[in-house]
């Protein structure tokens, strides 16, 4: 019995291998390569052109692109091989520089397995595929400030084994899930910045619901130069005032995000959704408070 089954199993494996080989040859490139979808943006006056890889967001046959500073987001050109395909811009968010496009003819990039958020492991191993070539990368932590300026939300610093891929190129973890997309090179060797998956989901949610990103507003004022995330002012009539937040309270956490400094707070505020309550922990004097705040549209 055993002697008869082993050859049969061997043949099954060979047939499966042959079929997968044919599948790969037909598609020409690995399934995770989005390099065939390249979108070009013309320059704005006094600006510059930009190029982005378009990544499927698995919804409405849409693809995610990154529009660099100085490029015209409203006039994108999709290059599929040697062909230019007209595209429609569903929506563009100037805060994150993320845009969502649809190609005419109903064609869509290959679907991808998106992670809900970037890995909490700050040194996670990643990889990207561009032009059929795989590039290994390693996460090197969160970036909250660049050039002394605090970012509207935190980016991932990624060390690539080769040149930083084109903006928009997806970064996969070991489970082949997209955890981030390349934002731009850090102009320092093979180091680049990447937008985490949760930021993509946050922007996509609003863009697909109305074409614009709606930031949640609590009516809390903070000073970036402050050493601690201390609330400098609570605006009258704001959700924060209604919930009982007071001046000089120190933020400890917003939702699941720990707040240690002003940049952490700015990052957490980016993810607030109007109408969705969020748990906020504060320190007032020597005691800790837990409040529920519901952001509104500013």
């Amino acid at each position: 019995m055993v002697d008869l089954e082993i050859p049969n199993r061997g043949w099954s494996v060979r047939v499966l291998f042959f079929m997968s080989l044919c599948f790969s040859l037909c598609h020409g490139q690995p399934s995770t390569d989005s390099s065939r979808w390249k979108v070009n943006f013309p320059a704005l006056p006094d600006g510059k052109t930009s190029e982005s890889t378009a990544v499927s967001v698995n919804e409405r046959s849409a693809a995610l692109v990154i529009v660099a500073t100085g490029a015209d987001a409203t006039n994108a050109t999709l290059k599929l091989g040697n062909h230019n395909v007209p595209v429609k811009m569903i929506g563009y968010d100037s805060v994150s520089r993320l845009g969502f496009i649809q190609a005419s003819g109903g064609i869509a990039p290959e679907t991808l397995n998106w992670s809900e958020a970037a890995s909490k492991n700050e040194n996670a191993a990643l990889h990207a595929v561009e032009g059929g070539k795989s590039t290994t990368a390693q996460c090197a932590g969160w970036v909250k400030q660049v050039g002394g300026k605090i970012l509207p939300f935190a980016l991932l610093r990624v060390n690539f084994s080769q040149t930083v891929p084109t903006p928009g190129t997806p970064l996969f973890d070991n489970a082949e899930r997209v955890v981030a997309v390349v934002f731009q090179s850090a102009n320092s060797g093979n180091v680049g910045y990447a937008i985490p998956a949760e930021a993509v989901h946050r922007v996509k949610r609003d863009i697909f619901n109305g074409g614009l990103l709606n930031r949640g507003w609590l009516g809390i004022a903070l000073r970036p130069e402050s050493q601690t995330p201390k609330i400098s002012r609570v605006l009258p009539g704001s959700p924060a005032e209604a919930a009982g937040v007071k001046q000089d309270d120190v933020l400890l956490s917003i939702g699941t995000r720990q707040i240690k400094e002003y940049a952490d707070a700015a990052n957490a505020f980016f993810y607030l959704i109007p109408g969705q309550s969020v748990d906020v922990k504060l320190r007032r004097g020597g005691e800790q408070l837990a409040l529920s705040l519901t952001p509104i549209k500013p």
């Binding site: 500073t69 805060v95 970012l151 939300f153 004022a221 903070l222 700015a266």
Partner: protein
């Protein structure tokens, strides 16, 4: 025993005719001048010098203006040579200036070095 009125009148008459000894006033004046000189010696040397100088200067007459102009010219010339020139100033080590740049908040994900962010209190 109480003195009589006559006795008291005689005593008063004697007092009225009483006079200091011969040379008393001469000695008094000498002693007074001696005290004045001792006091003047005790005045500070600098004050004394200036008072003497001003006395001498006021006694000079119209030539004092020529001397005054010469002294002023000498003072200006001396100041010109004593004040350090620019080159000397450049060589002196400059003390470091502590400049604390304002912390900026980017409202867009624009990482260009020239991008200006918002400063001061931010409302979320």
């Amino acid at each position: 025993m109480k003195p009589t009125f006559e006795q008291i009148g005689e005593l008063l008459a004697l007092k009225r005719n009483e006079r200091p000894e011969e040379g008393y006033w001469q000695d008094f004046i000498c002693e007074f001048h001696q005290n004045q000189r001792e006091k003047s010696v005790k005045v500070s040397g600098m004050k004394n010098f200036f008072s003497q100088f001003s006395a001498w200067f006021s006694e000079m007459g119209p030539t004092k203006w020529a001397y005054g102009a010469g002294l002023a010219y000498a003072a200006v010339t001396l100041g010109f040579f004593l004040i350090p020139h620019e080159a000397t100033k450049e060589n002196t080590p400059a003390s470091p200036v502590k400049y604390q740049p304002a912390v900026e908040q980017l409202n867009q994900l624009d990482l260009s070095p020239t991008t200006q962010g918002l400063v001061g209190e931010q409302v979320f």
